[in-house]
């Protein structure tokens, strides 16, 4: 026995190794044959994928995009038609890995029924145990945990396995963002058996291993991953959470030079890119060689922020004066070639017509009014200040800064423009050291109370105006658990009104997302993470 066991094990290992080698070889050969250009989508991007695990701190936007395609979540959103493409419908949720879900009458319990036939890439069935482990992971990891908490999902105790196909989520309060938070990129459902094999005592959630490996069951699986260079995805033919995607293979390549990306698409060598320069997009559109799907980024915004804790911007009149002196229209033209939705120039006075946010606020360029407000604030001769933007956004921010400098000069405000390296910009904003700057941001969950909670209060980097307002804080806290739509709408309108009156930031616009693609590509969908969902794309003959 003592002799045979090790030997037997060795032989078994050899056979296993040979078998896996043979399998790999056939897989490679098969992949090579299946690699017809027709069913392959070649995507070029300026960004790069740096990890396969959305739980990793410092993950890039392209990383989120990849995660979206290789993992499934319990639920997702429906989409609606917009122009030549689609836009995700935040008001309409649907099951993804969950066949169905029900919310109890008191709003405190959500029950998810899993699809009976869904499997992971390795063929093992998706069970409630996997779901529990995955959700436990999402609330336990630092970065994802902060996001999940915005939907009152904080502790593993909240997730209960009912049976192999049923899982229940319990909440302290009926949080309107609990279910939406289960559809963002963090609470992906992982193959828990596989992931756990690579967990250690210091790393119970297998974060090290999952960075470069996948334990997933999504529509696509990663067949090769070179951080910062290229990712190749192959379709998972047994995918059950939706209709089988059209493309069998997706190649996502990092091409840093924007003009090269444009040439690649125009010459037909690449199929899709979503991050070209506005000028290139317009030129390509004019030449008619490509299809441009332009969709407003409904959950994003560009704004000008004031440091409300620093003189002179701690004076609301000064902020209002500057807001009235901004050359909105010129900035929109110079920075974006007017590709987007303006957020200035509303006509309402007392309360907005609806409680959506971001929406147009009642500001427009009016230098006389600005001068008056400035005098009322005690600065009839203006003042000196510094306006900052990050170097990475220079293409849009540079013209904004130049126009602001010129326009504010007319009311006596002397603006020095400062370009800040991206890494430093984050630090300066977090430490609330910049007096006056521009940034753009997105909120994954475009719900008014969420916007105000994230961007208009608290001590995080995202409270760009460093704004403190007790009424707003009360309103957002209450609205979050408000189950009566009318009461919620009323609260939201009031929040918008406060933002308009107090102007901790001036909302400028929502830029459009321009997806440039070969003429025969169809089905592009705009998602909250501003990345491409390959599952919905097709190539028409």
């Amino acid at each position: 026995m003592l002799h045979t066991r090790p030997r037997g094990r060795l032989r078994a290992r050899l056979i296993a190794a040979a078998a896996s080698a043979a399998l790999t070889l056939t897989a490679i050969a098969g992949a090579a044959q299946a690699q017809s250009r027709e069913e392959t989508l070649r995507v070029v991007t300026g960004g790069q994928v740096n990890t396969l695990d959305a739980g990793m701190q410092g993950i890039t936007r392209d990383g989120f995009g990849l995660n979206w395609n290789i993992y499934d979540r319990l639920v997702s959103w429906d989409r609606k038609k917009f122009g030549d493409g689609y836009i995700y419908d935040f008001d309409k949720m649907k099951g993804e890995l969950a066949e169905s879900f029900t919310i109890s009458d008191d709003g405190l319990t959500v029950t998810f029924k899993l699809r009976p036939d869904a499997t992971f890439h390795d063929g093992s069935p998706v069970t409630a145990e996997d779901v529990k482990w995955s959700l436990d992971r999402a609330v336990s990891l630092k970065g994802p945990g902060a996001q999940m908490a915005t939907g009152s999902l904080k502790s593993p105790d909240q997730f209960k396995i009912i049976d192999a196909r049923t899982i229940q989520v319990t909440l302290d309060k009926p949080d309107r963002l609990a279910v939406p938070n289960l559809a963002v990129v963090f609470p992906v459902i992982l193959n828990s058996k596989l992931a756990r094999q690579h967990a250690t005592a210091e790393d119970p959630w297998a974060t090290e291993w999952l960075k470069e490996n996948q334990a997933s069951g999504g529509a696509y699986k990663v067949s090769s991953f070179k951080a910062g260079q290229q990712v190749v995805l192959d379709r998972f033919d047994d995918w059950k959470s939706g209709p089988l995607p059209y493309f069998k293979r997706i190649i996502v390549q990092t091409v840093p030079e924007a003009s090269t990306r444009a040439s690649l698409i125009e010459r037909g060598d690449a199929d899709l890119s979503i991050d070209l320069q506005s000028s290139d997009v317009l030129a390509l559109k004019d030449r008619g060689a490509v299809k441009v799907v332009s969709i407003p980024q409904v959950n994003a915004f560009q704004m000008i922020a004031f440091n409300t804790r620093m003189a002179p911007f701690d004076n609301v009149k000064v902020r209002q004066a500057v807001a009235h002196a901004l050359p909105f229209d010129d900035m929109f033209t110079a920075a974006l070639y007017r590709r987007g939705a303006p957020l200035w120039g509303a006509s309402w006075k007392d309360l907005p017509d609806n409680g959506k946010f971001p929406q147009r606020l009642p500001y427009a360029t009016n230098l006389d009014k600005a001068k008056g407000l400035l005098a009322e604030a005690g600065f009839p001769n203006g003042f000196k200040t510094t306006f900052s933007f990050n170097v990475g956004s220079a293409a849009t921010s540079e013209p904004i800064a130049a126009l602001i400098k010129e326009s504010l000069g007319k009311i006596g405000i002397d603006v020095t423009v400062e370009k800040v390296p991206d890494a430093q910009m984050g630090t300066l904003i977090s430490e609330k050291k910049l007096p006056f700057f521009t940034e753009s941001a997105i909120a994954w969950l475009p719900s008014a109370d969420y916007f105000f909670r994230v961007f208009f209060q608290g001590e995080t980097r995202w409270n760009y105006g460093s704004f403190v307002n007790e009424e707003l804080a009360e309103l957002t806290t209450k609205a979050r658990y408000e189950r009566d739509p009318a009461a919620y709408e009323a609260a939201a309108k009031r929040m918008v009104k406060i933002a308009a009156d107090e102007v901790p930031v001036v909302m400028l616009w929502q830029p459009a997302l321009d997806a440039v693609m070969a003429r025969n590509i169809d089905g592009f969908t705009y998602w909250f993470h501003r990345q491409t969902d390959y599952r919905s794309l097709t190539r028409t003959k």
């Binding site: 070649r42 070179k226 090269t260 125009e266 890494a423 984050g426 977090s430």
Partner: protein, 340 residues
């Protein structure tokens, strides 16, 4: 031969303090630069002070500077250059994977540059003041005056976009081809080893435009240096003697003059090689070349300390080795030269 090996080893050992100095200097410099990596990397939606602090601890930035330095030096001594936050992988792996791409580009570019610069320089020296001499001067000036990203984009525009001769300027190989198993990391060599001529041709095709861009950049110093030292050598007594003895012209130029003129060219070539390896950044960006330069630039923009420190160390190491090789080549060109 043994003494050369011994002397080389001594030279490399003598370089260790220099490398240590470079290491410490970069380490301190990175931390003096503005920008807090903890904030940068903990910038996910809803990340607040707690997340930033956790990231700071994870990166070891909560410790004192001397403590960080000692830990880092200890890691480096064991061959661990730290982990890149941008790619999420060990810096050593990243550099090892990307260095061959940069080296391949640089070596091919240098060969192209030498193959053009030496004949041009020699011809210009043989006929100083002639039309040819002026033309060489014009070509060199144009090459050195044009920033590499401009000439790179121009080449792409002409040869890829307009004419369609060049393959699409992305990376080292056509995306639809399967790369040969990596042996040396040099795609040209690996594809030959695998006997895959299709990949070899594709890789060579991809390499041409970026290599020409780089070659244009270093053409001028090489050609000018060749011309100057050839002029000096051609005016020397030994050339006059050789000519008066009736030796054939090609022999006088190539054996007597060139051999004497080659030393400064060798020095320049060595310097050019190291410079190119570092200055590749823009070319790598323009051609999506997965080299060490573009990798480090991304890291630098993200305040990602470990890759930048690793890169500087690598470059310093390469500089030491290249200098040594140049000195050895001196010995071959002129047996009187001995490295010490």
């Amino acid at each position: 031969m043994r003494s050369i090996a011994y002397r080389s080893a001594r030279r490399l050992a003598a370089a260790l303090p220099v490398l240590l100095g470079v290491l410490v200097f970069t380490f301190v410099l990175m931390r003096l630069l503005p920008g807090d990596p903890a904030v940068f990397f903990a910038s996910g939606p809803n990340s607040g002070e707690a997340e930033i602090q956790a990231m700071r601890e994870k990166l070891g930035l909560d410790r004192s500077l001397p403590e960080q330095l000692i830990l880092y030096l200890g890691d480096v001594a064991t061959g661990d250059l730290g982990t890149s936050m941008t790619t999420g992988r060990p810096v050593l792996d990243d550099l090892a994977e990307r260095l061959p791409a940069s080296l391949e580009l640089t070596v091919v570019a240098l060969i192209l540059a030498l193959a053009t610069a030496l004949p041009l320089g020699i011809l210009a020296a043989l006929m100083p003041g002639s039309v040819l001499d002026h033309m060489v001067r014009v070509v060199c000036t144009a090459g050195v005056a044009m920033p590499t990203f401009v000439s790179g984009l121009l080449l792409i525009f002409i040869f890829y976009y307009l004419l369609g001769w060049a393959p699409d300027p992305t990376g080292r190989i056509d995306v639809f081809l399967v790369a040969p198993p990596s042996v040396t990391g040099f795609l040209l060599i690996d594809s030959l080893l695998a006997g895959d001529m299709e990949v070899f041709r594709a890789a060579l095709g991809q390499l041409m435009l970026p290599a020409i861009t780089m070659a244009l950049f270093v053409l001028a110093p090489l050609a000018r240096m060749t011309r100057a030292s050839m002029l000096a050598a051609l005016g020397g007594d030994f050339v006059r003697t050789a000519r008066s003895l009736g030796l054939p012209g090609w022999k006088v130029v190539n054996v007597y003059a060139l051999r004497n003129a080659i030393l400064p060219v060798l020095t320049t070539t060595g310097i050019m090689f190291s410079t190119m390896l570092g200055a590749n950044v823009l070319v790598e960006k323009v051609f999506s070349w997965p080299g060490v330069g573009s990798y480090t630039l991304d890291a630098l923009l993200a305040s990602d300390y470990a890759p930048v420190q690793g890169f500087v160390l690598l470059m310093a190491g390469i500089f030491v080795v290249v200098n040594l090789v140049v000195d050895l080549a001196y010995g071959i060109a002129d047996p009187r030269v001995v490295i010490e």
